[in-house]
């Protein structure tokens, strides 16, 4: 399977969809800070991987996919798209784990902001490697 760049979903998504993601992202970041302030960094840190953005993305996928197909197959088409999105997120969570481990362990020896840079790079490498490996194993 080839990875393609497709601009269609961005053009199809209304500005309210992008605004919703911005608002949710901002609110979740504020909420994470408030949780850390109220309960301390140990509990606050857990919420850095809280799945708050994922349901918003799924809601947007549902809307787009339901627009594409007729009323008869609406639910099925959107559900299949959600399963694919969740499968990708599941593989991506290996990258998320690598990000957290790197930020935690590397910040002991380098500056935290440098550690976050390294962790971000590693997130991308691990996520893409897991996705590519799974595709390869499925096709062979």
């Amino acid at each position: 399977v080839k990875i393609e760049v497709d601009m269609t979903p961005i053009r199809q998504t209304r500005w309210t969809g992008h605004l919703r993601r911005f608002l949710v992202g901002g609110l979740v970041t504020v909420a994470t800070g408030l949780v850390a302030r109220a309960f301390g960094p140990v509990i606050g840190g857990l919420f850095l991987a809280f799945p708050a953005i994922f349901p918003v993305g799924v809601a947007m996928i549902q809307k787009l996919e339901n627009q594409k197909v007729g009323p008869g197959t609406r639910g099925d088409h959107a559900r299949r798209a959600t399963v694919a999105e969740a499968a990708g997120a599941s593989m991506g969570s290996a990258g998320l784990l690598a990000f957290a481990l790197t930020a935690w362990l590397a910040s002991g020896s380098v500056d935290m902001l440098v550690a976050l840079g390294i962790a971000s790079g590693l997130w991308a490498v691990v996520a893409v490697t897991v996705w590519t490996t799974r595709r390869y194993l499925m096709s062979s």
Partner: protein, 115 residues
Amino acid sequence: VREVLVRFLVGGVFVSAFALLGDFFKPKSFAGLFAAAPSVALATLILTTLTRGSAYAQVEARSMVGGAFAFFIYTTGLCWYLHRHGGKTLLVVAVWIVAWAGMAAGAWVLWLRPS
């Protein structure tokens, strides 16, 4: 108030940027990788480092390991459930957050809780 506003704006920009990046790609499962992007974490840890210092941010990053493991269980379980049983997708997506909370609580009890 100023800190809350800065957190809101930075968080919104990071989340939107990663989500837009995910929108660009096909197939859907590859785009899904960006649903697990560390957007909120990156925004929060940068701001925490600048306002409260590296040691505080390091404690948050350690806890995030537990949260990320819970996220893996959430997305994997959700994917399996929808594939096998179907149901109202958005409701299933929302209800499975309980699984994330359970795993995160487990990580706190077994590993993160100060003894």
